[in-house]
Amino acid sequence: MAAREQVKRLGLVLAILIGVIVLVRFVVIPRAYFSTRHHQASTVKREVAKPVHFAGMAACRECHSDEYETKSAGYHKGLACETCHGPSTGHAEDPMSVKPYAPRDRTFCPVCHAYDRSRPTGFPQINPAVHNEGLACIACHNPHDPVPPEVPQECSACHAQIARTKAVSRHASLACTTCHEASEQHKVSPRAALPSKPQTREFCGQCHAGGAAGSSVPQVDLATHGSHYLCWQCHYPHLPEGNP
């Protein structure tokens, strides 16, 4: 019987202890004590107070509106000033004594414009090792309005790989303009004015279908030769089959 009495007392003490803990945790201590609001607010406060190093293009524009207008009309219109000139809040606050970085040598522009196979097709790229070696980029190109110093005359200036391929092919004697019509505008804004491409089987047929027998130009009958396909699905026009 004595043991049962002990268990009773122990149980009572335990029950009181648990009751007290519950009371303290849920009633005595206010909920705000467990709230994360306070330390989160102070974190946000610290974060917001951090210094700004890049002033933003709007700040540059206030004084350098000429450069901004020039840039906005050219190929670099999407670039912020600080993309090339570096973080310039110091300069914006104290224009006289703090001068921003101005890249003038050959090492900076290739950061974006050196050839790299992973870069998107059509992005202007050069090989720094052979492109006017030794000259500063800004000797020929104005970085605020970058265009080639001379409008390229030959297609091969930009389409060198195709030109090299065609030069060793059976089509070497054909000019690019035999198959493609390129407007003058294509030389200035290559992607705004795209050259034409042949669209039909009949276009290739002009030379390759039903011509004089015995000609050195290969002849096919368009009605029977791969009639469900376009010619360039099987033949690469810049390097047609067979060596010259």
Binding site: I16, V20, L23, V24, V27, V28, I29, P30, A32, Y33, T36, R37, H38, H39, Q40, A41, S42, T43, V44, K45, R46, E47, V48, A49, K50, P51, V52, H53, F54, G56, M57, H76, G78, L79, A80, E82, T83, G86, P87, T107, P110, V111, C112, A114, Y115, D116, R117, S118, R119, P120, F123, P128
Partner: protein
């Protein structure tokens, strides 16, 4: 103390409990009102007129525009004081090369931003296609890093930016392990977890994050998902969008367009 004394003290304490509670509540209420209307108030956080409850931020990445120039990485380090040594990044760029044998090679090209120019990549490899993928903290709507933090040092702000309390963080690295995107690192100077904040100090002032500001091709788009006029929402309307590791249900807020299936 004998048993009788203990029981007496207990009874007195229980009776006095509610009084303590009232006193404590009054003290907290006082502290709150002293801080101009409680800590939920933007003015209290140094935000001025900016109201975080009106915004919900995300970033868009147009993969086919990235030229891998690393300007974003350099700008991020300058803006946020990220250590210059390689492998400390809040944002970085990966080069994906899909080879003819079906394998995919991934290389972080931000380790040495100058390296690219010095050593053009070998062209003799049998590469089917190759492209750059910028990466950063995805500011997940359900962030695993926040879940695992044992001291509640990392949390998402009302406008959806996951940040770290540098004073509360223990540097236990649990969040670094938990992040499925590898977006966190241990800052060697503060010995606390460090990560992208979407340049929160710039965003609340109406500026773009540093990486977005300097991106020359517009591959990075920053915006407010609550505003239909934001560039990001327009990009979401115009493009096919995917996120990284959608199967983890972290609901990332960095949206990729033209993302290749090989990207992990």
């Amino acid at each position: 103390m004998n048993k009788r004394q203990f029981m007496k003290g207990m009874i007195v304490f229980i009776a006095a409990g509610p009084d303590f509670a009232t006193l404590a509540r009054a003290a907290y209420a006082k502290a709150d009102s002293a801080k101009a209307g409680g800590s939920g108030d933007p003015a209290d956080m140094g935000l001025g007129d900016y109201d975080p409850s009106e915004h919900w931020y995300g970033m868009g990445i147009e993969v086919d525009k990235c030229i891998g120039c690393n300007r974003c990485v350099v700008a991020c380090k300058a803006e946020n004081g990220v250590p210059d040594e390689p492998y400390y990044f809040r944002t970085w760029i990966e080069r994906y090369s899909v080879l003819a044998n079906g394998e995919t090679e991934v290389e972080c090209i931000s380790v040495d931003p100058g390296k690219q120019q010095r050593e053009p990549p070998a062209e003799n490899r049998d590469v089917v296609r190759s492209f750059f993928v910028p990466k950063l903290c995805n500011h997940c709507a359900h962030p695993p890093c926040v879940q695992v933090c044992p001291v509640g040092a990392t949390f998402a702000t009302q406008d959806g930016v996951v940040i770290v309390d540098q004073e509360r963080c223990l540097g236990c690295r649990y969040c670094i392990q938990a992040c499925p995107y590898g977006a966190r690192f241990l800052n060697p100077n503060t010995h606390t977890a460090d990560k992208c904040t979407f340049c929160y100090h710039r965003v609340v002032k109406g500026l773009m994050p540093a990486c977005v500001e300097v991106c020359p091709t517009g591959a990075r788009v920053f915006g407010d998902l609550r505003s239909r006029a934001s560039r990001l929402v327009r990009m979401q309307r115009m493009s096919k969008i995917s996120v990284l590791k959608p199967d983890l249900n972290t609901e990332p807020k960095v949206y990729y367009s033209q993302l290749d299936g090989e990207v992990r």
